[in-house]
């Protein structure tokens, strides 16, 4: 790597840090002094960054005067908060009781199989992230999955395959 491109990269990182600090500051200001704000702030941060990066948590800690231990205590307790970046597309398989009884595990297996096939054919590893979620309240449409925030119901392995294929095309 030559000096020029290393400089450019450093510049990018510094830009990102600058933007991140500004955003964290805005979020903190928005919620400052409001009752019961910590979890709401963490939601705002995850919405912004896709997860709660350590650097951002650190910035938040300084900005709000909350210890890192307090922040991590909360993030690690709640399933909803992520400590690692999500994939390009997120596929959430509902594991509520109705979905479970109607074959959610088969959907999950099919998704895993599709991902393996994709990787084998040279696809990116972080293209899709498949995870189980708690009941999304679409029990009448079981089994259901949420792909990038969009709910799909009354699925079977073939249909879920089609949903993923369609996303991949985008």
């Amino acid at each position: 790597m030559n000096t020029k491109s290393a400089d450019a990269e450093l510049g990018n990182i510094l830009d990102w840090v600058e933007r991140m600090r500004k955003r964290v500051c805005e979020i903190a200001r928005e919620w400052e002094g409001r009752e019961g704000n910590l979890i709401m702030i963490l939601h705002a941060i995850q919405n912004e960054f896709g997860y709660v990066p350590r650097g951002v948590a650190n910035e938040l800690s300084r900005e709000m005067g909350i210890s890192m231990a307090r922040i991590y205590e909360v993030i690690t307790f709640y399933h909803y908060f992520r400590l690692t970046p999500p994939g390009n597309h997120t596929v959430q398989v509902c594991m509520g009781t109705a979905c479970y009884l109607k074959g959610a595990e088969q959907l999950r297996d099919e998704l895993e199989r599709q991902l393996k096939l994709m990787e084998a054919s040279g696809g990116r590893k972080d293209e899709f992230q498949v995870e189980n979620v708690r009941c999304i309240g679409c029990c009448g449409m079981a089994p259901a999955v949420v792909v990038d925030g969009e709910t799909h119901g009354r699925l079977c392995p073939d249909k879920v395959k089609a949903v993923v294929k369609q996303k991949r095309g985008k």
């Binding site: 409001r34 009752e35 019961g36 704000n37 910590l38 979890i39 709401m40 963490l42 939601h43 205590e73 909360v74 307790f77 709640y78 399933h79 909803y80 908060f81 594991m95 509520g96 009781t97 109705a98 479970y100 009884l101 109607k102 979620v133 708690r134 009941c135 999304i136 309240g137 679409c138 029990c139 009448g140 449409m141 079981a142 259901a144 925030g149 969009e150 709910t151 799909h152 119901g153 009354r154």
Partner: protein, 642 residues
């Protein structure tokens, strides 16, 4: 509505009865409807309306709860006649405007027949006939055959031009053979055989005679109190709620009653907490009102975590103002100045609609300082959950709003004495609050007229799993479980047989087929070893293993245990290991004894409801389906049998 403070006079003009002058179409657009394609249907309706230059009021609503039929669309005209259509798609949406709205035809295989069946023809001229074969388990569907039969008979009488025959999507009758409904009268005949067709056309249609022997009478088995506006009003417009009589209960409470009188009216109503435990609502309010404190707080518990339940989501998405109004009334009764909605982050649409309801209400001056000039001030905010089932427990919920880990605290002190930030706090569930607003409007006595002595009013259930028509139902307490499952939801899937019904989710238990005539009340379900719970009703058929179901629920509780107390943390984990061992065919008979021991310890020694009730699914499956466990552990017995 603009940023204008509403006066009582403004409210009264909204409440004055208005009848729609234009024909309308309502599209159910809750999370379930949207997942089934309701947005595309809505768009197609708008497009077609423009192309056809039709003057139709196309509205967005929440869901009535007919999940099996999503996307659902209801049409109506100035005469008050409504028709419901299910399984819509963009193409049928266009046909709905062209053929139905403009030309009066119905759509094939889409009509959901009215449950309010009439027993009189009243000399009306009938224009359409719906037909549907409702028998389950038969190999061939005779609907199309009967449709043809009726058409031929109509032709003989030269009525075929005037009366159209349509295949219905759903008749609201099940296991009743071929059913036929005459429209617009809604006279319905069941168990119709081939020769009956001649009588239906000849005697019923031509001569206006009702055929008593074939008549399927009876009105709707459901009673829509909490779900009164779901699917009727636009949840995104406060105006729509006001026109349906919204905030009348609040006005009555604030301007005509003292807080004590509000609590007394709630006592008369007999309403008990719909979150599951069934604690009398008025008593919770009284206990929170009693302590002297600088301030008090009310919370709406919308952390609907029971997997397999979606009542609260549907209410929040379908009628957010009703819940907000209930919360405001509870605050007035208790003397609170601040309220929080604690909503699951997994319900983004519910969060959006509640937030919008709060913003609109605040802009209209119904939230904030000196509401309606009553001297009562109150404001509400949303706080999100973050995926922790235990946060449905009151003390854990409080911890979560305070920004801590959602671990429960020992009680007492109860939240009514020392709650959020140490202030007396009343926490009510979504469904409870949606009932409160209508109780204050219509009076406690009116509400107490529904249900049984100890369990008054109605309860909303989410009936899902291996059932023919998964849906939300709202029924008076005391109705048998069988009526809910078989008469309202159509019983098992085609060709299957129900094995058991699970109520109360991870804290509840299974009710075997043989006990399905039990009435739905807090007490009767507890006697069976289950609980009312928040309202999940999961149907399981003979292909479902009860050991697997117990393992599923226990696995859920182990995952969700906060880890604070040992009986729940260790007991749950060890028991799950034993269940996995048994399910894998490696268990021994003595393992069942150990499981029972652990269950007992968890029930008696756990800190909160999660640990105390986590053994319920295991114990109740052991109670009613022990042979399934024994079959898996009895390798010795198998050897003897061989």
């Amino acid at each position: 509505m603009g940023d204008k403070r509403l006066t009582t006079h403004d409210l009264e003009s909204y409440w004055a009865e208005t009848t729609p002058t234009r024909p309308w179409i309502r599209v159910s657009m809750d999370t379930g409807g949207l997942a089934a394609g309701a947005r595309e249907v809505y768009q197609a309706l708008l497009d077609e309306q423009e192309e056809a230059r039709a003057d139709i009021d196309i509205q967005q609503t929440g869901s009535m709860g007919l999940s099996y039929a999503d996307p659902v669309v209801v049409t109506g005209d100035a005469s008050g006649r409504t028709v419901m259509f299910g399984a819509m798609d963009p193409e049928s949406a266009r046909a709905l405007i062209r053929d139905h709205m403009q030309n009066g035809y119905l759509l094939e295989d889409r009509v959901i027949a009215s449950r309010n069946r009439s027993v009189e023809l009243n000399g009306q001229e009938q224009v359409a006939i719906l037909v549907k074969d409702t028998s389950a388990g038969v190999d061939e569907d005779r609907t199309a055959f009967f449709q043809e039969l009726i058409r031929e008979e109509l032709a003989i009488h030269e009525l075929d031009k005037r009366i159209k025959v349509y295949r219905a999507m759903d008749m609201g009758l099940y296991q009743r053979g071929v059913c036929v409904q005459l429209l617009p009268a809604r006279v319905t005949y069941a168990d119709v055989s081939g020769p009956d067709i001649r009588r239906i056309i000849g005697e019923s249609l031509r001569e206006g005679k009702v055929l008593e022997d074939l008549l399927a009478g009876g009105g709707d088995l459901q009673e829509r109190i909490v779900l009164r506006n779901c699917g009727q009003t636009d949840p995104n417009r406060m105006e729509s709620y006001l026109q349906a009589g919204g905030y009348r209960g609040l006005k009555r409470a604030l301007l005509e009653m003292t807080p004590e009188e509000v609590i007394a009216d709630m006592k008369t109503s007999g309403l008990r907490g719909r979150g599951g435990a069934g604690f009398p609502t008025w008593l919770k309010w009284q206990l929170t009102r009693d302590p002297k404190a600088d301030r008090k707080i009310v919370i709406c518990n919308a952390d609907e975590g029971d997997p397999g339940a979606f009542m609260d989501r549907s209410i929040l998405e379908g009628d957010p103002h009703a819940v907000l109004e209930g919360l405001m009334i509870s605050a007035y009764a208790i003397g609170a100045d601040k309220g929080f909605f604690y909503i699951r982050a997994e319900y983004p649409l519910a969060v959006e609609r509640i937030q919008r309801a709060i913003d609109e209400t605040r802009a209209a001056g119904l939230l904030g300082h000196n509401i309606l000039g009553s001297g009562f001030s109150f404001d509400a905010e949303v706080r999100l959950g973050a995926g922790a089932f235990v946060c449905g427990e009151e003390t854990a919920l409080i911890a979560s709003i305070e920004g801590r880990r959602g671990s429960p605290d020992p009680r007492p002190p109860y939240p009514s004495v020392k709650g959020l930030w140490g202030y007396p706090t009343s926490i009510n569930n979504v469904e409870t609050l949606a009932a409160v607003s209508v109780i204050l409007d219509r009076g406690g006595e009116w509400y107490a007229g529904f249900g049984t002595d100890k369990s008054r009013g109605t309860k909303v259930f989410a009936v899902t799993g291996k059932v023919r028509n998964p849906q939300l139902v709202e029924v008076p307490m005391g109705i048998p479980i069988r009526t809910v499952i078989e008469d309202i939801c159509g019983g098992a899937d085609r060709g299957a047989r129900i094995k058991a019904v699970q109520t109360g989710g991870p804290s509840g238990g299974v009710i075997p087929r043989t006990k399905m005539d039990t009435p739905v009340t807090y007490e009767s379900l507890q006697e069976l070893g289950s609980i009312m719970g928040s309202g999940g009703m999961l149907v399981m058929d003979e292909s479902d293993s009860m050991v697997d179901v117990a393992k599923f629920y226990l696995g859920f509780c182990v995952d969700e245990s906060c880890g604070k107390c040992a009986p729940c943390r260790i007991g749950g984990f060890q028991m799950l290991k034993l269940l996995e061992k048994i399910h894998g065919g490696k268990g021994k008979a003595e393992d069942l004894e150990t499981i029972r021991d652990i269950c007992h310890s968890m029930q008696t020694a756990s800190l909160c409801g999660l640990g105390q009730t986590a053994p319920n699914p295991v114990l109740s499956t052991l109670k009613y389906f022990e042979e399934e466990y024994l079959d898996l552990v009895a390798s010795d017995k198998n050897a003897v049998a061989k």
